[in-house]
Each structure stands twice: as structure tokens, then as C-alpha cells.
Symmetry: none
Subunit: 123 residues, 4 copies
DNA sequence: GTGGTCTAGACCACC
DNA sequence: GTGGTCTAGACCACA
């Protein structure tokens, strides 16, 4: 996935979200080494300090840890990763229900319509 | 629902979305008369021209029609309203599936997790 | 208390410690407004960004909160302040016991010697 | 205890503190022979001159004495050792009281909290 | 080379 | 005026 950054929201937040997704989706496997701050910053075309701030956030989320001299690594705590992944999924689901509620659809309607979408996609 | 406008996106688009939601959710019933452009603009604290543009867009969507002499009305075509409502719901569902897919969840997982959220919310 | 900064330790950490002390000791009362980032930075003779980073840490500790436009305030949650204060005290006590242990003094010895120090001070 | 040296403080001072601790805690018994300057310097991975300076300081403190022909020995003056040990303890206690005072705790509070820590540690 | 920190200076949104 | 963010560039410790 490319680095698509919208200047209307804090860049570092978007970096957090992007990397977080790579981690929970397994694109960056547990225990693997992250590219250096400078390299990541180059890839994303942002200032190294901005990337540094994003990685600091991910450390606070315990998705990364720093080995002083050799670089940053994805946590080996797969439970932590699963936890964050589940939290993100629950947030998506919650937001979905809220939006559908606003449209006037209850939870049962959601299931019914989702089935219809899947059936429609098959045709 | 209050008028919450984000200056980072075109205002008129947000007005379209807001009013469209009022219509498909039945808050503005079919056939009912809309407040004047001036009043709506005042409510939303936007320039009347911006509101005018939004209402024009809603007419193009056939959710509103103009009675030359007496003002604007919500369409009486309940099928059209239902159609738009369904389109919006399908869009929500599609976006939801895409986001969950990115997290690594298939459609089956979505149903399973939604059940879990509902169960959790009950407790 | 003056701003005494040792260049051998991260400045922002010393700023955190300094301000934290002002808060838990009641020098900055709960709910009171903090000087602006720029003013604090000027007082401490550090770059505003460094002070900003320190204040960010204190917000994460829930000792401060930000009112978007009007400035930063000490939390009104006196329980939180008391909690942090107690944590700091326990840390001091723990470190004290460890140091004394290294000297060969057990916990009972600590009490005995402390009494002696107090008596000595009175003379 | 290993030789942990912080380059931000004078090395020889840290050597003094380290060896002093070994003496007052009895790890180097009174009257026992110290390894050679060369060996100690090797152990601590410092320049022999630096170690020499540290040992000179310890002689000034009357914790060591030099036997012209056979090397350096720990003082046999156990009272002197006890004196230094007590001085160090008093220093620790004084610093502890100062830190707690800054947090807003009086001497009575110190005792109360120390009891609480000990009770908590037992559980 | 790695990450961590600091400074300087800029721009933005909010009110 | 307030805080928030971003960039640029520098220096340091570690190995």
C-alpha cells in the first residue's frame, strides 16, 4: 500500500494508522525489524522528525519496541497485536452501526442488507 | 442533528449530505415544505449561495423539487427516497467491508464479530 | 524553585519532573491555568518545542489538559494528582531502601538511623 | 556488583564510590589486601591513572593504606569504616527527607508511608 | 550506521 | 493571543 497522506489531518497520525495497519494485518510480522526512521521518512516523503513522532506513538501503543543501537522492531507479543486488531475492528463495527442507525436501519436491517450486498456481488 | 461543518471539505457537499440524511431518515417527510434558502442558510450559518448550491444538487438527485411560486418541497416519490436511502446503506456496507478486509477480516468474520459486539453491548 | 537544567539528561524529562513537582506539591493548584508554552519556555530558557514535548508528557500522565484556544490547565482531578504524588513518594522510599540495603542496612536499621538523624538535628 | 560507569560524571569519583561501598558493606573486609592498581583498572576498564587517583582519594578518606612493599590494604580501623558507613547512611537519609519534603511530606509522613510500603511488599 | 534530543523558525486553526 | 504541527538541520551516544 502506498503512502497516501492528506495534508488536512496531522501527518503523524496518518503515519501511525498506516503502520498500525501493516502490523495488525501481518504485513510487518511480529519480531521483524522496521526500516530505519530515515528510510521510512524517505519512503513516506516526510521529515524524519515527523516519522519519529509517529513511531513514538506506536511504541506507546506497545506495537513497537526500540533496540537502542540496532533499530526498531515489531513487538513479539502477538496477543497485543491481536488485541489492537480487535479494537480496530470493533471501532469499525461500532461506527458502521451508528451510520446505519442514522439512516434509519436497525442492527437486524444491517445483517439483511449485508446479505443482499453479498448476493448482489456474486451475480 | 446539529449542523457540524468541517472547513476542510467543501461546505456545500456537507450540506447536501446533511439534508439528504434528514430526508431519507424521514425527519423531513415526503411532500413536506422545506424552509426558505435564507432560513436554512441562517440555521447552518453559511452563505445563502452555498445553501442554494446544495439544494440545487439535491434537486438533481430528485430528492427535492421547486414549486415556482411557493418554495421547495421534498419529493413525494417515496420510491426515489427509498432508492437513495438504499444506495447510501450499500455504500456504508461496501466501505465497511473494505476497511475490515484491510484489517484482515473476511465477510464471514464481519458477521461473527458483529454478533460479538451486539452480545457485548447487551451485557 | 528555579529552573536548574542539567545538559547531561534529556531536558524535556527534567521539565516534566520539575512541573510535576509543582503540581503535586500544590504550587500549581488543581484547575489553575498554566502559563503559555512560549512563556514557560522563556522562563526555563529552552526552545518552545522542548517545553511542548514536556507538556505533552504531562498530558499523557493526565496531570494537564488542553483547552484548545485558551491554554493549558492543571487537572481538576485531585485524586489523580494524589495518585501521582503517592507514586512518586513510593518510588523515593523504594530507592532509599535499596541504597541503604547496599550499605548493609536493613529496613529496621533505616528507622533507627532516621530517628537518630532527627534527634541530631534538634540539638 | 559490576563496574557501571557513567561517562557524564568524573570517572574517578564513581570508582571511589564503588570501592567505598565494597568496603563499608564488608565485601572487602578490614585488613584485606586490595588487588593491584593495574588489575583493578583492568577489571573496571579504566586507565590505571584514573584508578590510581581513586585509590589516592580513598587513602585520604583513611579507608585504605599503602604498605610500601606489598601493596594496598583496607584499613583495620573498623571504627573509621563504621564512621564512613554512617556518614553515607546519614547522607542518604538527609537526601530522602529533602526529596519527600519537596513532595510535601513531613518527617512523620515519611515514617507512615514507609510502613505502608513495607506492609504492601509483604502481601 | 542506529535512535534520541534539541533548536530555530514557520504555518495553521481557533477565538 | 492560544496550542498544534511540520520542516530543516544539528549534535550526541552507542556499537
Amino acid at each position: 500500500m502506498a503512502w497516501v497522506l492528506n495534508p488536512d489531518r496531522p501527518i503523524y497520525l496518518q503515519l501511525v494508522e498506516h503502520i498500525r495497519l501493516q502490523i495488525v494485518s501481518g504485513h510487518y510480522p511480529p519480531g521483524s525489524r522496521l526500516p530505519s526512521v530515515r528510510d521510512l521518512a524517505g519512503e513516506a516523503a516526510v521529515n524524519p522528525n515527523t516519522m519519529q513522532k509517529a513511531l513514538g506513538e506506536l511504541e506507546r501503543l506497545e506495537l513497537l519496541y526500540t533496540q537502542r543501537t540496532s533499530g526498531r522492531y515489531i513487538t513479539e507479543d502477538v496477543q497485543r497485536i491481536a488485541q489492537v486488531k480487535q479494537d480496530l475492528a470493533y471501532q469499525q463495527i461500532h461506527d458502521f452501526f451508528v451510520q446505519m442507525e442514522r439512516l434509519g436501519y436497525g442492527k437486524d436491517d444491517c445483517f439483511r442488507l449485508m446479505e443482499a450486498v453479498i448476493e448482489g456481488g456474486k451475480q
